[in-house]
Symmetry: C2
Subunit: 652 residues, 2 copies
């Protein structure tokens, strides 16, 4: 069981905690990834197991910087090493840090003292706020306009469970740049579309009746997810008539011809490693890298909003999955443990689910009608590996799906609450009204996956295939010409050539290929088929763009480096103008990608123009994207032909 | 039950048969579609039921033309009317006719007499063909190079169930243009990559050893769909713990808030009518129109191939579905009846299936973590309405899926055998080798759907929505500018403006909208979200292009006309150069599409570069396309919130 591995995590974390957390402010402990070469040697049984190490992130508030330390060996650490410079090449300024629960508590106290307690009359009349009833804050990011800024527009919402779609029309800009909270200050306020420089100015003008007042009105609970009708008859259920055909042991899954290891990073989320089909490694790593959104708004709470979720923590919000809703009732549920912004590791019960699903369609079939009447087919049963991460308003569903054809799919769907803003004149340029006084703001969803395929070893090439009409003369009637589709194949040589930008025509087939050939002489390959409905990427002229430069590309291919583990970082959100990781630098050196260990960075997503049906929740249907990794001349024939699920019928 | 309606079909067809089929050569009888205005009046209970009529297609071979007749009223017809000119505006030349079973029989006899019996030695030595063993023909289309031609390249394959991937390297060009089979002749032959003008020339050169001979070799049955392994443990199954939540009565389906009528045309295939959600009509018709493929090849058997399946009949090949593979075991199976190229109507048992499926994911969910801990969600259970049509080598799976959000999806997946050709020098420009001496030829799949949405009545407009970055000054810091996404909305005015070509940038959101507004003042609309991986469309300069001109467009919007029922026709394949229906003419008059009854013609599909894993069958995963029709400000909130499947959990 996963518990075993996690128990050792508990053990070393506690040791570490005792050793250093009294002195230092540790914010995050996560397992470090060993060097790929060491892991491969271990997996091929030519080397011992690599030493396990942990990475600890420490905010040195008083010194003005952040440090990352590697601690090892686990489970009984004896050394600690500062790896900040070797990892990022720069020092990390303290203002790049994420906002901790500690800082939030200070912020809430600050707002109470400096804003709410000074605006009691307004608060009561406009929002029915008093000792018994409060508003909830939702902050926008980035926090300012330039590096070093830590100035956050905080928007206020009704204190209901779906607060995100109940904006009240009150927003406050707080400068919390100082590590000393007594230095913080309110820089500006927005009330019902009007700006005020100070709390006092708002109070005076409000009392002087020179502002357009919001009069409190009870609002219906259109955010409620409570059932409005009693279940009469439950829908179709899945059952394993003959038991499960997969097994989960520690963090390792076996399913028919598949095997893989899995992990969940507090920051980037779900990942699988050493993905094998018929005992041959296909991928070293498939993982979520980043979920980014750019919003449009008239009001300051969302006008500059660019969320980079991995800075807050995607995997961090992988909570308990609801049986029968989030995953089928009979799925296998696995607990995870995390140490982020807490005093000790926390167990998250049932936060991963694994199940085989009947996809409700044949994987392949043929009905022969002409010369030989027969039927052959096979139902599409596939293994789904899932987490769902609820990062504030949004819930992202992350699926890795393993098919009996040797294909594996990484998919994401969005659900949960949209972000919204209080409707003022001119708002409608930025979205649609979705409830009384509520604008659903236009935004993009960009998701980045890391796809480290290793096709028959690490040395691979990147090839593209497409079609082209060529005017050819007919061989039996050479004076007659016709446009005939031909196959066009290319091998891209360098990282920049293989950085396939959004908005450009790209070849339809993208392959990570080996130089080894299949029985028919073709290079064995896996094809990347990307499903995406992304909106436009932020123009590169914007200073915030560098921290999300991976989103320029549908697919970008890099030469693997241990030092280029992720396309984003914990520090991208709060130092967005000068990010610790700028993906475009991975390809700036334009290295050769021929016969190298290649990594594909795949971007998918969708443009979201919210509409009334996003209330109360965005639905998953149609709101997603993904990438299918499919064998293409990797085998000599479709491997599913060997599946015991095959069916053949011949009329007697 | 559906049987009732079908029995009346049997009745009138028999009457018709007795009346006229002795004199005329009736090839097809299908129900005619009544005028939409009459149907709507009937559905709104302001008019009686429209008279039921049938269309009969007759090949007047000796007169050199084809006629279409309308016969009515059913079930006891009293009149017959020639509608050819009013329907097509042209007379239909006899060479536009489809090849009937009768003509095939004559063709096979012709080949036996004129080719096989004259090449016995070659046949035995090269292909092991003798009295006990034959080859199977697979013909390529179009049949020639210009209007009036009926010259077909027939390729030969081994006589096995998956013959399509066993080409032997022998192809014959037969001119069967005359309605008198004694006038037919062999125009050319291809053997092992060499061309011969006559059978005699091939025979002589073969005997004289001046051709490169093919020596027969037993080949493995890599086409076999027979299971290679015994089932040990069956995969997950679906079951209805509390019974089915849908009902099928005649050709009418009820499912939770949905209702629709369905039909299956022998030519175009699956269609649904009068699709209602919460008793409000959303679509008058959703239907399959055409499945088209353009192939590339070095050899003549596929160099010009452009299949237009509706000319052969898509629905015609909707055969019995395999329980537990094609559809879940517990699905509801419905019989259909057809009269095409037979002497009497034929019943096709279990050729449609209907089932509710647990899609294995939440339709929506939110886990609240911050201020209010609670969970709300709902599993995605949807109704699937399916046929699978096996047109020769290929099997297309057609799904209409009805979601509890008010969305409906039309989807197609391809499976079955690829078309292949015998490998010769230079073949590899046109595909990949997939078996010994076998090339899987590159080809496109283009699928056309008719989507006649009626959003709150027939008078609708076509609108697009997208995003655009605009440089705006920050309201609280006006000297600072930032690029912020804005919503861009347009209403397209005419058919040509709304013909959205492949290869051009098109707005991301496409809507059929009413002028009526929802609670929040937005025009109620349905959005068309197209999933497609199509290859390039045949250049318009090609004379064959006009019969597939619908494939120029991702989406094209026309003003509804009873006379523009389909985007293709029975006569498109065999008179491809001068088609009876040229879709581009529907939009050539560039009519206004504002406040009109609109029809969206949606094209989807994929580029298929065959690879070893297409052997034995192409798999459905990743090989498909479709269109999702989703409410967008149609409601005031997501209707699934009223579903009894909703779940809510609050920690006690
Ligand atoms: Ca590089
Ligand atoms: Ca690699
Ligand atoms: Ca028109
Ligand atoms: Ca319409
Ligand atoms: Cu969204
Ligand atoms: Cu294909």
């Amino acid at each position: 069981m996963v518990e075993r591995r996690m128990n050792s995590l508990v053990k070393w974390a506690l040791i570490l905690f005792v050793l250093v957390s009294i002195i230092l402010n540790i914010v995050l402990i996560d397992l470090s990834l060993p060097k790929k070469v060491d892991v491969l040697a271990y997996l091929s049984e030519t080397s011992p197991k690599p030493v396990r190490e942990a990475t600890a992130v420490v905010f040195h508030g008083s010194k003005g910087y952040i440090k990352e330390y590697v601690v090892g060996p686990l489970p009984n650490p004896t050394y600690i090493r500062d790896v900040t410079l070797e990892k990022y090449g720069i020092t990390l300024p303290i203002n790049a840090r994420t906002v901790t629960i500690g800082e939030y508590n200070l912020l809430f106290k600050f707002l109470d003292a400096e804003v709410f307690s000074k605006l009691k009359k307004l608060m009561k009349e406009s929002f029915d706020v008093d000792e018994n009833k409060k508003l909830n804050p939702f902050e926008q990011m980035p926090r300012g306009l330039r590096s070093g800024d830590r100035k956050t527009w905080i928007s206020f919402f009704r204190d209901v469970s779906g607060m995100y779609i109940h904006p009240v029309g009150f927003e406050v800009l707080v400068d919390h740049g100082s590590v000393d909270a007594s230095q913080w200050k309110v820089e500006m306020l927005l009330y019902n579309g009007q700006y005020f420089n100070t709390v006092e100015e708002l109070k005076q003008k409000y009392d002087a009746m020179s502002v357009k007042k919001i009069a409190y009105k009870e609002s219906p609970d259109y955010d409620s997810l409570k059932p409005k009708n009693k279940p009469l008859q439950i829908g179709p259920q899945l059952f394993y008539a003959e038991g499960k055909r997969y097994s989960v042991s520690n963090n390792h899954v076996l399913y028919l011809d598949w095997s893989f290891a899995f992990g969940l990073s507090s920051l980037t989320g779900m990942k699988v490693f050493d993905v094998r089909f018929k005992n041959e490694r296909i991928a070293y790593e498939l993982s979520v890298q980043e979920a980014m959104s750019v919003y449009g708004s008239l009001t300051p709470g969302m006008i500059l909003t660019k969320f980079l979720d991995s800075s807050i923590g995607i995997g961090r919000f992988a909570h308990e999955l609801a049986r029968g809703v989030d995953c089928p009732y009979e799925a296998t549920y696995v607990d995870t443990y995390r140490y982020i912004d807490v005093q000790a590791p926390v167990r998250y019960r049932n936060s991963i689910c694994i199940f085989e699903h009947n996809m409700g369609q044949p994987l392949r079939r043929h009905f022969g009608d002409f010369f030989h009447k027969s039927y052959g087919g096979m139902v599409n049963s596939a293994l789904v590996f899932r987490t769902i991460t609820a990062i504030g308003n949004y819930d992202y569903m992350w699926d890795f799906i393993f098919y009996q054809t040797g294909a594996v799919e990484a998919k994401v769907h969005a659900t949960g609450y949209i972000s919204s803003s209080y409707l003022v004149d001119g708002s409608q340029k930025y979205g649609h009204q979705v409830a009384e006084n509520v604008l659903g703001n236009i935004h993009t969803h960009f998701i980045n996956f890391k796809v480290d395929l290793d096709v028959l070893g690490e040395r691979n090439v990147f090839q593209t295939k497409d079609m082209e009409y060529v005017n050819v003369s007919l061989p039996w009637k050479t004076d007659h010409y016709a446009m005939v589709p031909q196959l066009v194949e290319k091998q891209l040589k360098t990282e920049q050539e293989a950085a396939l930008r959004y908005g450009t025509k790209t070849p339809r087939y993208l392959h990570i290929a080996s130089n080894k050939t299949n029985k028919w002489g073709h290079q064995r390959s896996y094809r990347l088929q990307v499903f995406s409905f992304t909106g436009d990427h932020l123009p590169e002229s914007e200073p915030e763009e560098r921290s999300m430069s991976w989103a320029r590309y549908k697919v970008a291919i890099t030469k693997y480096k241990d030092s280029e583990q992720t396309s984003s970082s914990l520090y991208s959100q709060n130092n967005i103008w000068s990010p610790a990781v700028d993906f475009s630098k991975y390809i700036a050196d334009d290295e050769s990608i021929e016969d190298q260990d290649l990594v594909a960075w795949v971007t998918t997503g969708f443009l979201h123009i919210p509409h009334a049906e996003d209330i109360p929740n965005t639905v998953t249907v149609g709101n997603g994207g993904g990438v299918l990794l499919r064998p293409h001349n990797y085998f000599d024939e479709d491997p599913s032909i060997h599946s015991a699920d095959s069916v053949y019928i011949k009329p007697g």
